[in-house]
Symmetry: C2
Subunit: 173 residues, 2 copies
Amino acid sequence: MPAIQPCAPAKSGEDTGSAGCRFAKSEERTSHDQFRRGNRRLLAQGSLNLKLAQALEKLAAGKLVFDYVDIGDLPAYNDDLWVNPPASVLRMKEQVAKADGLLMLTPEYNRSYAGILKNAMDWGSRPYGQGVWQGKATAVAGTSPGSIGAAVGQARLRADLASLSTVLAPSPR
Amino acid sequence: MPAIQPCAPAKSGEDTGSAGCRFAKSEERTSHDQFRRGNRRLLAQGSLNLKLAQALEKLAAGKLVFDYVDIGDLPAYNDDLWVNPPASVLRMKEQVAKADGLLMLTPEYNRSYAGILKNAMDWGSRPYGQGVWQGKATAVAGTSPGSIGAAVGQARLRADLASLSTVLAPSPR
C-alpha cells in the first residue's frame, strides 16, 4: 500500500506539517528494496501489484513521492493489544496519517481483495476516535492474472473504504 | 472458526472416514482452553464471539462435536509459500477438510468481517484444485457490541463464502 505524498515545488526534504503538503525526507523514504525485504512474508517474488506500484511511481515521478507501507507484519487484529501496541501497528498508522493521499493496490482473491489488507484497515481504524482513514484521499488499483484482473476485488475494497470514510478517487479502477 | 462435526449415535472416538460422518477423537479435539492459548494473538480476553461459540456448543451438546480452528497464526497469504507450506496452513486446511460442516463466527469491523478470516479463506482456497471450501456445509453467526451486532459483517462474509462455493445455511443470521 503506497502512501502517496504530492511532490510540490517547495523546499525538498522539508516537512511542512500536517496542515500542508508533506514531503518524504530522503532518510525516511522507503525504497523498493527495503519494502521487498520488509514484505518478504507478504509479497510473492513476482508480485504483479508491486510491479504495478513501481510503474505508477515512475509515471508520477516529479509529481508524487511514494512511501511504501508494510502491512505483512501486522498481527491479527486484537483489541487487547492497544495496551501496548505492536511497533508494526504504530508505524503503519503513522505512515498513513502523514501521507497526503493513499494508493491501495490489491490482487483479487476469491472475488474480493486480500484479507490482510482488511486487517490493516481494521488496525488503522482504531482506537475509537484515533483512526487514520477518515477524510484521507484514497485511490484504488490492482491486478491479477486473468481477463478480469482485480476488477471485483477493487470494487469490494472501494465499498469497505467508504465505510472507513476515506475520500475515494473515482479512478483508476 | 469452529468446524462442526455432527455427533451421531455411533462408536465414540471412531473415525468413520471422509465419506461418512466423522467424529473428533478425544485426543485430537481442541478444548476451549487450548483454543484460547493458541489464539491469544487473535482473540481478545473477553471475546464475545468465543463466548457465543461456547454457548452454541452447549446448545448442540449430544448432536454436534465442535472442533475449534485456530486462524490467528496463519501468515499473510503468499503464493510462494506453497513450496514449503507453513504448518499452520496445513493444519487449518486439514481441520476444515475433515469437518462435516463449518460454523464461522465473526465480529463486525468497519461494516465487514474480520480481515484475518478472509486471509484464512484465501489460504484454504489454494492451491488451485485443492481448496477445502467447495461444497462444505457452512453456517455464519457473529456478534459485536452495539445494536446491530455483526449483522453487516455477517452479510459480507456470506457473500464471500458464496464465492468460495460453500453450501450456505440460511440461518442463523
